[in-house]
Amino acid sequence: MRWLGRTFGDKTKRCPEEEHCLELVRLMLDDESTQEDNDYVLKHIDGCYQCYDNYDVERAIREVVQKKGKNVKLPVEVVTEIRQKIEVAK
């Protein structure tokens, strides 16, 4: 169970810090946050169901975008054409 051992409060309550926390979560996942931000986020999501949920969804979206978003193979002939054009440009 994902939530096993975690001590969340009322799951139906909206977190007043949700938007701010989401911004910090995104910075953290992008590896652009400060240690202070990370400490805040990790402490906060440990006790906030909603923000942990956001964190989990953000991670899932990145995973699916990275897995399925990069799907175009470079045609071999394009590389050959580029090399040929460079030869001509010399």
């Binding site: 979206i61 975008v65 978003g69 470079l74 440009a89």
Partner: protein, 211 residues
């Protein structure tokens, strides 16, 4: 030296390690070796970027060739040891804006500021509206083309930041240089782009019957 990219300021040009000098006297052999070593490894990523900008295989090929030729022509401006991939992405992004986007008149293109204002007004889909569980493996496994569709449905400014960050792994400061915008704008644009992408993916998942 004049800037080959009309939208780029001399300062940003310098940041990218572009050396202020006239056309290099480097022998062609050296230029070709440098091109092969520094630029060729990034062609696949560049082609992916081109395809996601143009949505068209032929246009993507043209954009890649155009970018490659500009990179070769101005190779004397590239300082070895600096970020070749970011340098190339910047050339491609500017080529797209200056040439391809104007030519195609980009159907359905929306002004970024307008979209931003719309989302700021609270009328746009908020992440809070999302009820579909995008974490569920069943949902993620089924999302294939929909990911591409969701990404492609974003306007080019929002699409670009997601591509650069999530697919190409650029840092915010590198993105700021590639896009020629302040780092704070990168951050806020990415945040809004992620909100939109999340809403679109959730909508696709919901259409597929997932709750």
């Amino acid at each position: 030296m004049f800037c080959p990219y009309s939208t780029c300021s001399p300062l940003i040009f310098d940041i990218f390690g572009l050396v202020e000098e006239e056309q290099s006297t480097k022998p062609d052999r050296q230029k070709t070796e440098l091109f092969e070593r520094e630029f060729m490894p990034h062609l696949e990523a560049l082609y992916n970027f081109a395809f996601k900008l143009t949505f068209n295989e032929d246009d993507a090929k043209d954009l890649l060739q155009d970018t490659s030729m500009k990179a070769y022509r101005f190779i004397h401006s590239f300082a070895q040891g600096t970020n070749a991939k970011a340098w190339l992405f910047r050339i491609m992004k500017n080529s797209f804006i200056n040439d391809y986007r104007k030519k195609s008149k980009a159907p359905g293109m929306v002004d970024y500021q307008e979209v931003e204002a719309y989302y700021d007004s609270g009328k746009g889909t908020s992440p809070r509206d999302i009820t579909v569980d995008l974490r569920a493996e069943t949902v993620r496994d089924k999302l294939g083309d929909e990911v591409t569709l969701a990404l492609n449905s974003l306007t080019v400014d929002f699409r670009t930041v997601i591509i650069l960050c999530d697919l190409e792994g650029f840092k915010y400061d590198e993105m700021a240089k590639i896009l020629d915008i302040p780092i704070g704008t990168v951050r806020s644009r990415l945040h809004r782009a992620r909100n939109m992408l999340k809403a679109k993916l959730a909508a696709y998942a919901a259409q597929m019957g997932y709750k």
